[in-house]
Symmetry: C2
Subunit: 332 residues, 2 copies
């Protein structure tokens, strides 16, 4: 049996880091069939659509999707693709690695971001020449689904510390958004209590102050959609930027994996992009398919290369994407 | 002529830092009449209301208001008070001071936060057992009012660098909230262009990554309400916490000034709270009333004390609130 993986390189360095991740997957003892599809700015220019129906369908039908990055059209590509795979949670680990320059080298946090609603539900209206509105949506069902996932995540020891006792932190703004974030918050605590998982909370603004002051206070952080977007990107700044951060958009029987970084137009096409985030995203893909050992193998190889192997320019080295990728494959 | 200042200490260390700020104001060559009023958790316990009508009216009718902090009831107190003074912008400088331990000592940014709408407009509905919504509101009129203020702020050299050429940065999420943040963004750029002020932009998530990586990239940052809340609190974390940060809620002919910190229940009542944020808020009050020289006098005295005067415990010293306040008064 082999897994069908939809491969969407997208724009810019997507064309460099996704092939790097595939080289690593190919070196594992797992059988994959990779099927390429197009999306992004260039696709829009050619076809008029940033995300052709065929690409959407491929992602929906595959066992998993590996995505690179998209430029101006990012929202038109990634939001429907998250929907295509039925993703309800975006898993975003933000971890500083030894030897990598970081504002806060102690950072090791995993964000579990609600992936379907909040302001992303996208109901906007132009009510008059002066007035526009957006309807922010929070349901108990989506909140509970996220909470169940968070509990399992913690119980399975998949947080930064594998200590399930640590539980999770809910970051929200229920002191202002009383009804919507109030519902979110309430469901998080209700499910945590039902399952005997510890939960505490932090207002999202206070979280933004406290994370840079001491990131070790937090482990697994569960957030509504936009809060998860902003707070996980803040953590990215603390670990030294987006170049190392993978992410997983998880659904019930499908998922999409993407580096958190963008298309990096300044270096695109030069073969010097850092493939780490894409390779770590591939590791999350392998784990999602049930091959936990192989996922760990990839992460260990990446960490080993980060500590004393070749480095790309963003990390102060002068290695190419291929050299870093070869080093990772070598150390698997 | 003397200015009528509404004084609302609120809860916790509000009772310590607001009197400290008043001591400093009293030492200036400006005549004030201070009128005290109640609000906050204790007031709610006593009267059933966190913000009695009399307090609201006092703030609405005064020349300006000095507010301390409120506990659990913070949102019930501060949101109506912002409305009472007709505030359309919340000015939040985040500056690291020499000698104060900071994650990013180069930080010197001023946030101009829209203060009336966004998710704070507060229309929420429980549509079913499963579903709640919040209507996020953005108007061109409020956006333009903020933009006009931002242009004047920049033109008057009130940003971190007094160089008007630097313009301002708009932080928003218009790639997702296309209609609402799209409107906000469009009005910011339109007014900037009309007035010949430079404006650039950053997505709010990218801003959260880039600020910790290099805060010197930014000067004056203009944001929708919640973005301004979270991003300015992030900057607070980079300068070493909330203990030093003042803020001003500015309206057309009235305003309210408040330290960004909360009630600090752990140290409340001990006389050891850091009065700096409240004193700097008082400096902003004095400037708002047109006494720019006296405002600068206070800020200079505060900076001088921070660099070699007595310090409270949060800054590694063991001075009391009174000792720090006396030192500031002494150096005016
Ligand atoms: C491109 C954009 C729509 C997207 C988001 O806001 O979710 C991105 O910022 C991300 O975090 O993956
Ligand atoms: C207390 C709360 C309503 C308030 C806000 O969100 O505006 C606070 O966080 C602030 O920033 O002043």
């Amino acid at each position: 049996m082999s897994y069908e993986i939809a491969v969407i390189e997208g724009d810019g360095i997507g064309h460099e880091v996704v092939p790097a991740a595939i080289d690593v997957l190919d070196a594992l003892d797992v059988a994959f069939e990779f099927v390429e599809a197009e999306a992004g700015d260039a696709t829009k220019e050619e076809t008029g659509e940033a995300l052709p129906r065929a690409t959407y369908n491929l992602a929906a039908d595959a066992d998993a999707t590996l995505f690179g990055a998209a430029g101006e059209t990012a929202a038109d590509v990634i939001l429907p693709l998250r929907e295509a795979v039925g993703s309800f949670v975006n898993v975003r680990p933000a971890k500083a690695y030894p030897g990598v320059d970081a504002v806060r080298p102690e950072t090791d946090v995993v964000f579990l971001r609600e992936n379907t609603e909040g302001v992303y539900a996208g109901h906007e209206d132009r009510l008059s020449d002066d007035l526009s509105t957006l309807t922010r949506v929070v349901t108990s069902s989506a909140s509970r689904e996220l909470a169940e996932f968070a509990c399992e995540f913690v119980e399975d020891g998949r947080g930064p510390t594998d200590d399930a006792e640590e539980g999770f932190t809910v970051a929200h703004k229920a002191n202002v958004m009383r009804e919507t974030d109030g519902r979110f918050r309430e469901e998080m605590f209700a499910v945590a209590e039902e399952r005997g998982v510890d939960a505490d909370e932090e207002l999202m603004d206070a979280f933004a102050t406290k994370l840079p002051l001491d990131p070790t206070q937090y482990g697994v952080v569960v957030c509504p959609n936009l809060a998860g977007d902003v707070l996980s990107d803040l953590a990215a700044g603390l670990v030294g930027g987006l170049g190392l951060l993978p992410s997983a958009n998880i659904g019930h029987d499908n998922a999409l994996f993407e580096p958190v970084h963008g298309t990096a137009p300044d270096i695109a096409g030069e073969g010097v992009a850092n493939p780490t985030a894409a390779i770590l995203s591939a590791a999350m893909l392998v784990e999602f398919l049930g091959h936990v050992e192989e996922g760990k193998q990839v992460r260990d190889a990446v960490e080993s290369v980060l500590s004393d192997g070749p480095r790309t320019g963003d990390l102060g080295g002068d290695a190419t994407t291929d050299e870093v990728t070869a080093a990772v494959v070598d150390r698997l």
